[in-house]
Amino acid sequence: MLLRVISTLPQLNGMKNETLIYALIAVACVVLLTIVAASLINYEGGEDRSYVKRRIAAVSIVVVISAAFFVYFDLVAKNAILNPGFQSMYTSTCIGCVALVFLGSIVVNVILMFLFRHSKYGSILFKMKK
């Protein structure tokens, strides 16, 4: 779909909308992968620092997915647009979507971590049960 040739303004607007939808899907993927990674990292005895490993995993997933999103949509998908003017219009949308993926993932993760604070996923924030 994104690799078809874009030559008209309506086609460009359609591509922008699709990119936004893919950004939302990417946010969901980041959250899901963070939950899975957190579950797979075992608790440790003694001084339990497994939450540090989960944090590293969470941050890495956000960064990697955001970077991958940017690489694909800005470097690969954009080649389908023939008009340079249209390309620069798409680039600003793309940057906005990457920011949505990055910041949106962080915000959604933090909200869910508060809601599930007693779980391994919630321990990424290292909030203790009272």
Partner: protein, 529 residues
């Protein structure tokens, strides 16, 4: 209201049986029970006596920093409320039969009484030092122990024996169960078992000014523990020097004669409602085997007499548990008919010791397996690399609400587990605690998976997967394991602990007891009990 149970541990074997009983209390086998235990030995410096006190202190301080505030609980570890007393006849000043009974002046003033004594006792027996016990001279020991108990009851000064008797007389209305733990082949235990009920009853009468008759109101039971170990025989020079030394070569004969006595004597049958006959098929076990090279002479007593624990002592403690739980109607019927019930247990041909061998019945066996096994898992979660308990207290486990657990209670709990299971030294080596000593005495195939006992260093022990290999893979504990594909033993444990914590309504007297309850519920759920 908690049930009251009175236990007397007499002599070196009695001390080790009481030690096993304390471990049963720690497992939670004596729910809702105030256990009053009187440790009775002539040898106050005995190594087994001091080890018992160490275990008792660790137990009581774990349960409550102020033992007087301790109360019995249920379905948790350390559930029994222990009250400890000790009594040791004072032979520091008058340390021989001759001096205790002023034999020299008795011979001149009451020659007939002196002649009766000469009929019963040889000169050597009248003259040996009593500070290390009665050295298998039971005919002397019975007299001396009876006399000591009555003298202590009459004494103007307060002592532990009087406190124990006061509790017993206070419980007289409820027909208390009184159980005696000791051997029939040695010195102090063998001397005391025949006369203890009468001595206790008379002493209680003195303490209560005659208002209570314990002989009528209480039920008495005892172990008849026959010879199960040997030790280095005395050399001729030692015998010449000490005059009287107990020899394990005579233990079998002593046991046989004692058993005949307990089977025939009418006074014993009127006094005791239940006897538990216990013994092993041989006497090959050497309780001092690990120190064999250091032992150059026969140890008559003192701090050097510190025998390793044996599984038969646990069986004796389980006999006490059975007596504690015996219905009063059965005991009353035995008492009225002057009928003593003789119980025994035998091992199956495979030689393997199962849970049923200790407590009988499949439900009781499963309960015993649950409480014993999960306590072992707890010990590994407390003193190993996966130290969960310290991590709770200092929040390093990321679970709040336990910062105010008393540090001294945690320290006592850790020390208890060193005595119960294994102590890790700073160089990575291990010292065997009670459990591993029992395993050695049983010659393998002791209740649990043999893999539990194979580690010889701290590193190996921490690698041992107790989530999967704690219990044997057959019998009543088949399937008692936990773990997932992506979880290790600690990970599954912590997830379950958090789950239990979320759903719990803790009502213990102090934070440490709350932790004990949470650990109990978590581990029982994990092992699918």
């Amino acid at each position: 209201m908690a049930k009251k149970f009175f236990v007397l541990g007499i002599g070196g074997t009695g001390m080790r049986c009481i030690e096993s009983l304390i471990h049963l209390c720690a497992m939670g086998m004596f729910d809702d029970t105030d256990v009053h235990m009187l440790a009775l030995d002539t040898d106050i410096n005995n190594g087994n006596f001091s080890r018992l006190k160490e275990v008792k202190d660790a137990y009581m301080k774990t349960k409550n920093t102020n033992p007087t505030n301790s109360i019995a609980s249920k379905d948790t570890y350390f559930s029994a409320n222990l009250k400890y007393y000790q009594f040791s006849p004072n032979y520091e000043e008058n340390s021989t039969f001759d001096s205790v009974f002023d034999y020299s002046s008795t011979k001149s003033k009451k020659p007939q009484e002196a002649e009766i004594a000469d009929l019963m006792f040889t000169d050597d027996v009248e003259d040996f030092n009593l500070r290390h016990g009665y050295r298998a001279q039971t005919h002397l020991g019975s007299l001396m122990m009876y006399h000591s108990i009555i003298e202590a009851a009459k004494s103007d000064t307060n002592n532990d024996l009087k406190s124990f008797l006061t509790e017993l007389t206070n419980a007289a209305q409820t027909h208390p169960h009184v159980f005696i733990l000791g051997s029939v082949f040695g010195g102090t235990g063998a001397s005391s078992i025949p006369i203890i009920p009468q001595a206790i009853a008379k002493a209680a009468g003195i303490v209560s000014n005659g208002s209570v008759n314990i002989a009528d109101s209480a039920y008495f039971g005892s172990t008849l523990l026959t010879a199960y170990f040997n030790f280095k025989a005395p050399s001729q020079s030692e015998l010449s020097k000490q005059k009287v030394i107990a020899s394990s070569q005579k233990f079998a004969l002593n046991s046989q004669v004692a058993m005949m006595f307990y089977d025939n004597d009418t006074t014993v049958k009127k006094t005791y409602q239940k006897f538990y006959m216990l013994g092993t098929e041989g006497m090959d076990y050497d309780p001092m085997a690990k120190d064999k090279e250091k032992i150059t002479e026969t140890i008559t007593g003192g701090e050097k007499q510190k025998n390793d624990s044996h599984y038969i002592e646990l069986m004796a403690a389980c006999a006490a548990l059975d007596f504690c739980n015996t219905d009063n109607t059965i005991l009353e019927a035995n008492k009225q008919n002057a009928n003593t019930e003789y119980l025994y247990r035998s091992r199956n041909d495979s030689g393997k010791l199962e849970f049923q061998d200790f407590v009988g019945g499949s439900d009781d066996a499963l309960t015993f397996a649950k409480k014993f096994g999960t306590l072992i898992a707890f010990s590994l979660l407390c003193n190993g690399e996966d130290d969960f308990i310290s991590g709770l207290q200092d929040k390093k486990q990321g679970i709040g609400g336990f910062e105010d657990v008393d540090l001294s209670q945690i320290s006592s709990l850790k020390h208890y587990f060193e005595l119960f299971h294994v102590k890790f030294n700073s160089d990575g080596t291990m010292e065997d605690g009670w459990l591993r000593q029992l395993y050695r005495s049983a010659g393998q195939n002791f209740l649990f998976n043999n893999d539990l006992f194979s580690p010889t260093s701290q590193k190996e022990m921490m690698k041992f997967d107790w989530s999967d290999s704690l219990y044997a893979k057959d019998g009543i504990t088949k399937g008692k394991e936990y773990g997932g594909i992506f979880s290790n033993k600690f990970d599954s444990f912590k997830k379950k602990f958090q789950e239990v914590l979320t759903g719990s309504q803790l009502q213990a007297t102090n934070k440490c007891e709350q932790v004990l309850k949470l650990m109990y519920d978590t581990l029982c759920a994990l092992y699918k009990f």
